[in-house]
C-alpha cells in the first residue's frame, strides 16, 4: 500500500502534479502525480495502473487502429498501437505484465441520429472492440485482467 500520509504531504506541498493528457497522447506517471483526460466523447481513454509500483499510464485514443490512415504523428491516436506502447513503457519501468490493472472509459456515440455517417458514429464502439481484443491478447499472455 502507498504511504497515504506521504502522498497527502506531497499533494499539499504542491509536489503532486496534474498531468493533462490531450487527444492522441499518452503519458506515464507515478503517485502522487495524477494523469487526467477531460471531456471524453467518442474518444477512448485507456488506463493502466500498477498497484505494486504506484505507477500508471493513460492513453487518450481517437481511432480504433492504424490501418485506415497513414499519418502517425500522434503516438496514441490509435487504440491498438497505444496499448502496445503503454505496455512497453510500463514494463521498461519495472512493471510486471500480470500486475497491471486496465480500464477503459469513453467510446460514446455523440450524435446517434446522424445516419449518413454510420462509419464515423460507429467509431466509439469500434474503439471499444479494438481495445477489448488487444486486452484479451494480453490476458492470454498471462495478465490477471482486473479491468472492466
Amino acid at each position: 500500500m502507498p504511504d497515504l500520509d506521504e502522498l497527502d504531504k506531497a499533494r499539499r506541498s504542491g509536489m503532486a502534479e496534474e498531468i493533462e493528457v490531450g487527444m492522441g497522447n499518452l503519458k506515464v506517471a507515478s503517485s502522487p502525480d495524477k494523469l487526467v483526460a477531460r471531456g471524453i466523447g467518442s474518444c477512448l481513454v485507456i488506463t493502466f495502473y500498477d498497484p505494486r509500483l504506484h505507477m500508471g499510464a493513460l492513453a487518450h485514443t481517437m481511432l480504433p487502429d492504424s490501418r485506415k490512415a497513414e499519418s502517425m504523428s500522434l503516438p496514441a491516436k490509435y487504440a491498438g498501437n497505444a496499448i502496445e506502447i503503454m505496455i512497453e513503457k510500463m514494463t521498461a519501468m519495472g512493471s510486471r505484465l500480470y500486475d497491471i490493472e486496465a480500464k477503459i472509459v469513453g467510446g460514446a456515440n455523440m450524435f446517434p441520429n446522424i445516419e449518413h455517417e454510420n462509419a464515423v458514429t460507429m467509431i466509439g464502439e469500434e474503439n471499444i472492440e479494438t481495445v477489448k481484443k488487444t486486452k484479451r491478447r494480453g490476458h492470454q499472455a498471462g495478465g490477471r485482467g482486473r479491468g472492466r
Binding site: G39, G41, S42, M62, A69, S71, S73, I114
Partner: protein, 211 residues
C-alpha cells in the same frame, strides 16, 4: 497551396467564403428570433483540430452542439456551439417563452434548436453553393449537450481519420439584445479546401475575363 499552408491570397479568399456564409447565417438567425444579430468572421484557417477546442472556454465547459454533415461536391461539417446557458436562452426565444424559463432542454426544445441549426446552415450553404458553383447537400442535424471536448472529439475524429488538420471557418455570432453568443463552424478536409479554392480561382478568372 504549398503543402498544408495557404497563401495570403488564398486565406483571404477563404475568409470571403466565411463572410458570405456568416452574412446568410446571421440573416436567417435574425429573422428566426426577431432580434438583430452581430457576426464576426475572425478566422478561416487550416488548423490542427485539437486547437479548435480552446475557443469556448475549457474542455469541460458545458455546451449545446448542433452538428450536420455536408456532402455533394464537398465533404464537410457544420457545427454550431452554444455555451449551455445561451443554449437554454435560445430555446426560450424560439419557443416564445420568458427569458430564463428553460432550465433543461426537453425533446421539443432540442427539436426546435435542431431546426434553428437546419435553417441557419441551409441558408448559409445555399448561398455558398451558389457562390462557389458547387453542389452542397445538407443532412439532417443532430443535437447533443455535453462537455465541449466530448462534442468536439466527434468532429475531430471524423476529420482525423484522414488528416490531422482541417480548414476551419469560424463564425462568431451574438444576438445583441439578449446576449446570445455562439459559434458556427464550417469544417472541410484539406482536399475539399483545395476544391473550394479551385472554384474560387475559376470564378475570379471569369470575372476578370469578362471586363
Amino acid at each position: 497551396m504549398v503543402g498544408n499552408e495557404f497563401t495570403r491570397l488564398e486565406q483571404d479568399a477563404l475568409r470571403e467564403v466565411g463572410f458570405i456564409a456568416a452574412g446568410h447565417a446571421s440573416r436567417a438567425l435574425s429573422e428566426l428570433v426577431g432580434e438583430s444579430v452581430n457576426v464576426r468572421v475572425p478566422l478561416a484557417r487550416v488548423t490542427s483540430l485539437e486547437k479548435i477546442q480552446k475557443i469556448l472556454g475549457g474542455p469541460e465547459a458545458l455546451v449545446t452542439g448542433i452538428y450536420l454533415p455536408i456532402t455533394g461536391d464537398l465533404g464537410g461539417s457544420v457545427l454550431m456551439l452554444f455555451p449551455k446557458k445561451t443554449g437554454l436562452l435560445l430555446a426560450d426565444v424560439v419557443q416564445k417563452r420568458g427569458k430564463g424559463t428553460t432550465k433543461k432542454l426537453d425533446d421539443m426544445d432540442k427539436s426546435a434548436l435542431k431546426e434553428v441549426g437546419n435553417i441557419i446552415s441551409g441558408n448559409c450553404l445555399t448561398a455558398l453553393s451558389k457562390f462557389l458553383g458547387l453542389k452542397l447537400i445538407e443532412h439532417v442535424p443532430d443535437l447533443t449537450c455535453d462537455m465541449l471536448n466530448a462534442v468536439m472529439d466527434y468532429v475531430i475524429v471524423k476529420f482525423g481519420q484522414h488528416a490531422e488538420e482541417a480548414l476551419v471557418i469560424e463564425i462568431e455570432f451574438n444576438i445583441r439584445r439578449i446576449k446570445i453568443p455562439g459559434y458556427f463552424l464550417l469544417l472541410f478536409g484539406l482536399k475539399d479546401a483545395g476544391i473550394i479554392l479551385k472554384s474560387l480561382k475559376k470564378k475570379l478568372a471569369e470575372h476578370s475575363g469578362g471586363k
